[in-house]
């Protein structure tokens, strides 16, 4: 049986293999994704983002368990940073999800960013499609611990949950700088610690400065993920948001935006490959560099020539 059919039937070895192929940009992965595409778009996509150590993985673990109680199957894509120096990574999100390993209704995949800067990995979108096509009803995406500008998750998930915790000091500043706008839901985790209420108030204050997004007023919830507290409310609120997206028709807008940004990325990627190939092929640049140094040529002309060549190819 071929890989695509096995993925459709939920075969775990096949799902895992196809994700690997997509990560390695194997040509057969692109062919398979093309074939699977009509089976995607059914899953509800939830993004979990927030600073390092804020409890994203612990929350994910508890969310999955609550969704399982409600009879839903869940895929998880958990992303950790790749070292820019060695290309290696330690992907540790699974540590918090050990007792989900044996649940047949759960599939967890860890991914390294592999040079991608937006808080996701290069193949996150492919992994989501593969899990979606194989029938997982909810897919939770845990981003790398974000600083401030890593906000690709908002272009990826239906519902984005922004996690913060008390006691990070300038954490709220970071939120202010970029991720305030992307939250559909705010979670103040580690509410067992001092200062949770203050963080809630600060977020509420920041939200009041922003007009409601698309008629949705983002709720702010307190959780103690480590003690499984606040999780039922969180799942209820996520579901409410998803229902809101559907009833308001906003889901269509979001998905259109997502597809258009994905197409944009794919086109850019293909061009950038071509440019790299072209420049490598002819030693063209090397030759021009000498001329530019002698001021017989300038970078702007060279760019014009290269682009023209590419477009005529």
């Amino acid at each position: 049986m071929d890989l695509v059919q096995q993925v459709r039937e939920g075969n775990r070895v096949a799902i895992a293999r196809l994700i690997t192929q997509a990560e390695n940009e194997a040509p057969e992965a692109i062919a398979a994704l093309r074939e699977l595409y009509p089976d995607t778009g059914r899953a509800r996509l939830i993004g979990i983002t927030g600073p390092p150590g804020s409890g994203k993985s612990t929350l994910t673990d508890k969310l999955v368990k609550e969704l399982r109680k409600r009879g839903k199957s869940v895929g998880v894509v958990a992303i950790d940073p790749t070292s820019p120096f060695t290309g290696g990574a330690i992907l540790g999100d699974r540590i918090r999800m050990s007792d989900l390993a044996l649940d047949k209704g759960v599939f967890i995949r860890s991914m390294g960013t592999r040079g991608s800067l937006g808080g996701l990995s290069k193949a996150t979108h492919d992994a989501i499609k593969i899990l979606d096509a194989s029938g997982y009803e909810y897919i939770i995406i845990e981003t790398v611990g974000v600083g401030q500008s890593e906000v690709d998750i908002v272009k990826t998930a239906d519902t984005t949950v922004v996690v913060s915790v008390p006691g990070l000091g300038d954490d709220i500043q970071a939120i202010k700088a970029g991720i305030m706008e992307i939250g559909d839901l705010f979670v103040v985790n580690k509410a067992d610690r001092d200062g949770a209420e203050r963080v809630v108030n600060e977020i509420r204050y920041m939200l009041d400065l922003n007009p409601d997004k698309e008629g949705w007023h983002p709720p702010i919830l307190k959780t103690i993920a480590a003690q499984n507290q606040g999780i039922i409310e969180l799942v209820d609120n996520i579901n409410e948001h998803l229902d809101y997206l559907q009833e308001s028709g906003e889901i269509v807008n979001r998905r259109k935006e997502r597809i258009s940004s994905e197409i944009n990325d794919l086109i850019l990627k293909r061009f950038s490959q071509k440019v790299t190939e072209q420049l490598a092929r002819e030693d063209y640049l090397e030759h021009q560099l000498d001329k530019i140094l002698k001021k017989e040529e300038n970078p702007f002309n060279v760019v014009d020539q290269v682009v023209e060549k590419l477009l005529n190819n």
Binding site: V13, I19, S83, I90, L91, R94
Partner: protein, 131 residues
């Protein structure tokens, strides 16, 4: 096509309560450019195999101190085979008496490392044996 990255599950089966050794191994594997999936303490063979399948790792590296290597390591090999993932390289390390090593190799563990082995050894072994 992007360069294939070697993915390694570093697992700590058995009941002993600390994972210093496993963490040292995980870091050295990362520094060698591998993607290391680290699953934490006290994993059962079933959990290790489930994670190895979902993560589609090339290598399962087990670190053991508890003396239960004789049963736990071969069990992982067998479960992988049962689940259609028998192509993964399984290696092990820890306090393992020399006398026990032949039986482990016989059971399908590709290499066994005892304390004091430089981490460059498993790293070279993995690079040489992952297809």
């Amino acid at each position: 096509m992007a360069e294939k990255k070697i993915r390694v599950l570093v697992a700590k089966p058995g009941l002993d309560g600390h994972d210093r050794g496993a963490k040292v191994v995980a870091r050295s594997f990362r520094d060698a450019g591998f993607e290391v999936i680290y699953t934490g303490l006290r994993q059962t063979p079933e959990q290790i195999v489930a994670a190895a399948v979902q993560e589609d790792v090339d290598v399962v590296a087990m670190s053991l101190l508890s003396g239960a290597h004789g049963t736990l390591m071969p069990k992982v090999v067998n479960l992988l085979k049962e689940q259609g993932a028998g192509d993964k390289l399984v290696i092990g390390g820890g306090v393992i008496p020399d006398d026990d090593i032949p039986a482990l190799l016989e059971a399908g563990i590709a290499a066994v490392y005892t304390p004091g082995t430089p981490t460059s050894e498993p790293i070279e072994f993995i690079k040489a044996n992952v297809k």
